[in-house]
Amino acid sequence: MGPLVVNEIISDNTNLLLAFFIGIAFGFVLEQGGFSSSRKLAGVFYGYDTVVLKVFFTGAVTAALGLLFFSLFGWIDLSFVYVNETFLHSAILGGVIMGVGFIMGGYCPGTSFCGAAIGKIDAMVFIVGLFIGVFLFAEGYPLYEKLYKAGYMGSPRISEFFGITEGLFTLLMIIAAVLMFWGAEWAEKKFPREEY
């Protein structure tokens, strides 16, 4: 049955319309969760507010578990679901640059649009920076094209990489998430919070 667009149950144009509604739900949940506030987002790196960790990992675990059950019930063919390609070198380099951008800017791209939507001026300035950054990357691209395409590994799943089943890996991920939530609750009690 699923993915609906791949199996031609819905048309490409309907898919784009539904992307818009998926976006509305995504933006709504991010804002309700507190992701429109840069100080809440940055809080996870100091322990005073760990909402990022809780929402992010609960989301990842729910989606991963949901996909496995959908597959088990025959509702979705996982071989038609897009799995990101892994280019080892640029994935790590990109992640490191994004990490510095995160702690300096207080937002990531999705959350900055969410913050801007409710009037956060720092989020709007962050978005201006995003456009400048992508443009700079595009203009300088020939300089690091080789690096960008190095370390290609295909589209491996992490479970294949470790040689275990998807179900077992997801179980381990759930256990890791619960341990992190426990640590997060502890950190929020230990470090002072203020209203912002």
Binding site: A19, G59, T62, G99
Partner: protein, 174 residues
């Protein structure tokens, strides 16, 4: 009462489950999941194509993008999704009474300092998201949902680096 209402966010675990349902729905409907930086990339390509068409034809980055995508770069899944994000965030802000013009920062710094760092952080995130082929949503969250190795690498390097550098930028936040 209204003050209390303005402050209260959703329970983070409930918000997380709902976020997971959004990612699940995207995969079920479209065979892909949410992202953000890709929409910025589409907008940049569309902008350069309009303002400097000969540059877009010749410069490698735009050439590679346009050879892999048919039609207008703005007519893409991520662009429609991100328009939705703006509307969804706004609706949530209306319902929870959080619409306000504000620069958020630690009381120890001025708004101007915050905005300079927001710009710098945005530039870095823009560059990093291109190297990483996606940001916290497109690469990390969506990648982890489908157990992509790349998604986990992105998540660990983004959050790990931010933890390591947090000490140096603490005055911005605490």
């Amino acid at each position: 009462m209204s003050e209390h209402k303005k402050r209260s966010y959703m329970n983070p675990y409930l918000a997380g489950v709902l976020l997971g349902v959004v990612v699940l729905a995207a995969n079920f409907i479209s065979g892909r999941s949410v992202g953000s930086s890709g929409a910025v990339k589409s907008a940049i390509v569309a902008g350069v194509e309009t303002i400097a068409p000969s540059h877009a034809e010749n410069a490698l980055f735009y050439k590679e993008y346009l050879s892999g995508h048919k039609g207008n770069p703005l007519n893409s899944w991520l662009v429609y999704e991100m328009l939705g994000v703006i509307i969804g965030g706004f609706l949530s802000g209306v319902i929870s009474r959080r619409l306000t013009w504000k620069v958020e920062h630690s009381p120890k710094i001025k708004s101007r300092t915050r905005l300079i760092f927001a710009l710098a952080g945005g530039i870095l995130f823009g560059i990093g998201s291109q190297f990483g082929r996606g940001c916290t949503s497109g690469s990390a969250l969506s990648g982890m949902a489908v157990l992509s190795l790349g998604g986990f690498i992105s998540m660990i390097s983004i959050f790990g680096t931010a933890f390591i550098f947090a000490y140096f930028f603490r005055k911005l936040w605490i």
